[in-house]
């Protein structure tokens, strides 16, 4: 029962995040999406994934709350309550197939690979390479913004 409620909440908050007119309310709905995703992970036993989802979500939302209000255009009209109710209804309808239908076959071979073993022994090289990619991207963004500030000189 709790999985179904979380799934409905996830889809409804995703619909609200995309189609509400005000930037702040959209970002608040996106916060709901991240929260419901993290709760789904916890219910399925993926606690580390939930913690990371929460941490990354909080960072993203902090930036979006700051930049969203400053940089986005002001909406010409406010979202009407009728539209909000329609979005919630559409979200509930869209989440029904996930609750009542099933396409998954057998779950495959059960293997008890721990998270630490999987992260450091099976994909340790990937982690280091990803860290290098992140550093390169951060450096690139800093260079773009620096060039922009100095007018390309």
């Amino acid at each position: 029962m709790i999985l179904e409620v979380l799934s409905i909440g996830l889809i409804v908050s995703a619909c609200l995040a995309l189609f509400l007119d005000e930037a702040v309310y959209s970002v608040a709905a996106l916060a709901g999406t991240f929260l419901f995703t993290a709760l789904l992970y916890v219910v399925n036993g993926a606690v580390y994934a939930a913690i990371f989802q929460f941490a990354v979500g909080v960072g993203t939302l902090a930036i979006l709350f700051l930049s969203g209000e400053m940089l986005s255009d002001k909406p010409t009209k406010k979202t009407s309550p009728k539209k909000t109710v329609a979005l919630i209804g559409a979200g509930v309808v869209l989440s029904l197939p996930a609750i009542f239908l099933s396409v998954s076959g057998s779950t495959g071979v059960y293997s008890d690979t721990s998270f630490g073993n999987a992260l450091w022994n099976l994909s340790g090289v990937d982690v280091i390479l990803q860290a290098l990619v992140i550093l390169t991207v951060a450096l690139g963004i800093a260079i773009i913004l620096y060039e922009r500030r100095n007018g390309g000189k």
Binding site: V27, A46, S67, L71, T113, S123
Partner: protein, 104 residues
Amino acid sequence: MDFVILSLVMLTIGIYGLLTNRQLLKVFISIELIATAATLNFVMLASSTGQGLGQAFLILAFSTDTAVSGVVLALLVIVTKKYGTSNINEILKMQEKRESEAEQ
């Protein structure tokens, strides 16, 4: 309850938002939803077979997602400062106007 369909629905909503919204902030939110759908698939399929590998892949996917977020936010800042709006249609119109003025 099927998480594959749930992530498919999330993916569909994200792609629909990406195609229909003209605000850069909404485009960014659409990208976040698509990334969430992908990571949801990873974790749910892996946790159903008892593998921690899905959670490890989630962390790798998060790092890529964060990099994409950084690039999109940098673009949002640059475009909004340059054009004074974050609406893609208006930015395209301004660009066309500038090009036509430059040709004259």
